[in-house]
């Protein structure tokens, strides 16, 4: 899943053993994008979402911050030579607010980002990152600003995002970080493919559906997964 050649510890499983790869830690160089309340319209402007796949979205990450009307490059870390190949994005507060578009983390991932460290994240954005196996790790303002300064001064230095132990290490420093419990468990144990996880509980789902007064019996699929309905009836 890595779009760069940096190292991500995705321990692979034999088929059938676990529904997803384990993401215990991410290592690589950093890229700072400063500012609070960076919304998903900035991460990927809506006009690039007129697509039916996520392929190729990486080139449009932060597009309007990176290019002017004549497509000339503007000052933005995603344009800067020293950050090409970086895979740990370091951001400030309320990153990813606004629209629920998964195109935003998809664009970042396809640009090469494998982990994001920041002061705080909008919820839907963090959930979308988890669905892609991208950790969203938080730390206090001071630590994040220090990390951004360090990355800016040392673009080639390696950062180590330890999801399992909730730490971000660089140089001689180690930041006490936080990874939301469910996210940590999902990534570290490799259970972030929720489709497979929840699909295994199909009979309990049918039972819950039947217990709800507003769900008519005919809306609940038969146990074999088949459906007593004519097809193509829209």
């Amino acid at each position: 899943m890595s779009g760069s050649d940096a190292d991500v510890d995705h321990e692979s499983f034999a088929e059938g053993e676990a529904p997803a790869e384990k993401v215990t830690d991410v290592s690589g160089t950093g890229i700072p994008v400063r500012g609070n309340d960076i919304d998903t319209d900035q991460i990927i402007p809506a006009r690039f979402m007129k697509v039916v796949t996520f392929d190729g979205l990486g080139q449009f990450a932060f597009f309007d911050q990176r290019f002017d009307d004549e497509d000339n490059e503007k000052d933005h870390p995603f344009n800067e030579e020293q950050y090409q190949g970086a895979n740990v994005l370091v951001v400030n507060a309320n990153f990813g607010c606004g629209s629920s578009r998964e195109h935003a983390p998809q664009a970042l991932m396809r640009w090469g980002i494998d982990a994001i460290v920041g002061e705080s994240f909008a919820e839907i954005f963090a959930g979308n990152c988890l669905a892609l196996g991208i950790p969203t790790v938080t730390a206090d303002t001071e630590s994040i600003e220090a990390l951004q300064d360090y990355v800016a001064a040392n673009p080639d230095a390696e950062l180590h995002v330890d999801v399992e132990n909730e730490r971000v290490a660089y140089d001689d420093e180690a930041i006490d970080a936080t990874v939301n419990d469910a996210q940590r468990k999902a990534l570290v144990e490799g259970v972030w493919d929720t489709t497979a996880l929840m699909g295994a509980n199909a009979s309990a789902v049918r039972e819950t559906a039947r217990s709800l007064p507003y769900v008519p019996e005919e809306d609940v699929p038969a146990a074999d997964g088949g459906h007593d309905r004519p097809t193509g009836d829209d």
Binding site: A93, S99, S100, E102, K185, G199, V205, P216, R229
Partner: protein
């Protein structure tokens, strides 16, 4: 943690099991689908050779990319046509009901769900759209999800979620003249911040909320996400039931209505419910409110001075400085008199019949300012027809507004309806982010529909209270 709230009750009724991650697996009672966030999810299902688990609990429409002018097929924009065709194929293959333009029921997903009676109290409702919180106005637990979660819902009928805290926001007193639900929610976000709701679900309560009709409650719940709260709701009451009684779901089935009503009543928050936080706001002090910046939290009463960045909390100063530069506003000034180039009356926040009626009351017999391009984009084909039956289309077109076909339109600029260059818009939508309305230099001032009407006529941000209402609504 909260106890005895609508949130707790609806959660418990829909919980299937606890997952190994500690998240709960929640059954989804209604899955709404649109063309922008769903194609990749349908694609993932095809890759896994998995059918849609609950097609009858799923409903689709087209809103984000659909043109609001000429809608002949194929659409003039190839990319829009591709997305439309993909959705048509996906819903046909899966047997999902589709409110497409030919059905006469098409519209913005958060307008059509409530108007067709798909949205009901005590449901869990999801859609790949952050403004799904709108449906909470009916006492549903409704929230936006990403595309991977859409795949989950299509494949399993469920989402994986962690339970959140509940903050009760009580808006007391009576709202002043021409102070609307939009002004209330802009005030709430301004006070609690754009990230104040992260980790919370908002329960809106109090006299000012109870006095609102369903349209106003929808406007408020709609913008919960702009305050960081993924979901917001209002407990169902007589106002809710009156709306539901008239919808397709129950108009011919009073027995079903009576049967479900006891469920709806049972899921409302208990009088002695415990909340994780309670905030009280005096509704009588709220003014018509507009934004001066580039986040929905940067709002101000129309007669109130724009704040100086240095007077704001430390973490808001930098964003405020950049916003004021982008908007070209100075601290100490008011927004009154800020010149606008475009008036946009539309979006899932404010494009329902009541919104159009209220705006029309200020437009009747007046003319749109010569320098303003003004448009009305009804929220749905049903809203459009109902408005036309009352002659509202003529009121708007005679004044110089364009009367367009339903869709998301200039709220996010995914079709031709976009700001150009550094145009400023008076907009009844929900987001004033840089670039949101299609131009990265564009400037958006969020406000209520009546304030948009006033701005369209005068060519600048105007205190609607200073203007005579031509027709009383």
């Amino acid at each position: 943690m909260s106890d005895g709230t609508l949130y707790d009750k609806v959660w418990d009724r829909h919980k299937v099991t606890e997952l190994p991650t500690g998240q709960d697996q929640l059954f989804v009672g209604l899955h709404l689908v649109h063309e922008v966030t769903s194609p990749q999810a349908f694609g993932m299902l095809r890759e896994r050779d998995t059918p849609v688990a609950f097609p009858e609990r799923t409903h689709a429409t087209v809103d984000h990319i659909v043109p609001t002018g000429n809608r002949d097929r194929p659409f003039a924009d190839d990319a829009a046509e591709t997305m439309m065709a993909e959705l048509e194929e996906n819903v046909r293959d899966a047997g999902i009901e589709f409110s497409d333009p030919d059905s006469g029921n098409q519209g913005i997903v958060h307008v059509i769900g409530p108007e067709q009676g798909l949205t009901q109290p005590g449901m869990t409702i999801v859609c790949g759209d952050s403004h799904t919180s709108t449906h909470g106005a009916f006492g549903a637990l409704a929230f936006g999800i990403g595309t991977s979660q859409i795949r989950d819902v299509l494949a399993t009928g469920c989402v994986a979620m962690e339970k959140q805290k509940v903050r009760k926001i009580e808006v007391t007193g009576e709202l002043g003249d021409h102070v609307t639900a939009k002004d209330v929610i802009l005030t709430i976000i301004r006070k609690l911040g754009t990230d104040g709701g992260v980790g919370y679900v908002y329960e809106y309560a109090g006299e000012a909320i109870e006095d609102l009709g369903m349209e106003g409650r929808m406007s408020i719940c709609n913008m919960s996400i702009e305050g960081g709260a993924r979901a917001g709701y209002v407990n169902p009451d007589e106002t809710t039931y009156e709306w539901l009684r008239e919808t397709d779901a129950f108009a011919d089935d009073p027995e079903r209505f009576a049967e479900l009503r006891s469920y709806w009543e049972s899921i409302a928050s208990d009088d002695d419910a415990e909340y994780d936080d309670v905030v009280t706001i005096d509704g009588s002090e709220i003014e018509p409110t507009v934004t001066w910046g580039t986040t929905p939290g940067q709002g101000v009463g129309v007669t109130e001075p724009i704040p100086a960045p240095e007077d704001l909390p430390a973490d808001k100063q930098d964003t405020a400085r950049r916003a004021q530069k982008h908007m070209g506003v100075e601290p100490g000034e008011t927004m009154e008199g800020y010149e606008i180039d475009v008036a946009f009356l539309g979006s899932c926040t404010n494009a329902r019949l009541k919104d159009l009626r209220e705006a029309a009351a200020f437009v009747t017999g007046r003319e749109v300012d010569d320098d303003v391009r003004a448009m009305v984009v009804p929220g749905s084909q049903r809203v459009q027809r109902a408005a036309e039956a009352e002659g509202l289309d003529e009121v708007f077109t005679e004044a110089g507004f364009e009367w367009r076909e339903p869709g998301c339109s200039m709220c996010l600029g995914m079709n031709d309806d976009q700001l150009q260059g550094d145009e400023a818009s008076a907009s009844s939508s929900n987001r004033n982010f840089v670039g949101r309305q299609g131009s990265k230099d564009g400037r958006t001032v969020l406000m209520s529909p009546t304030m948009v009407a006033a701005a369209a006529v005068t060519g600048e941000v105007t205190d609607v209270r200073e203007m005579e209402e031509v027709v009383s609504v």
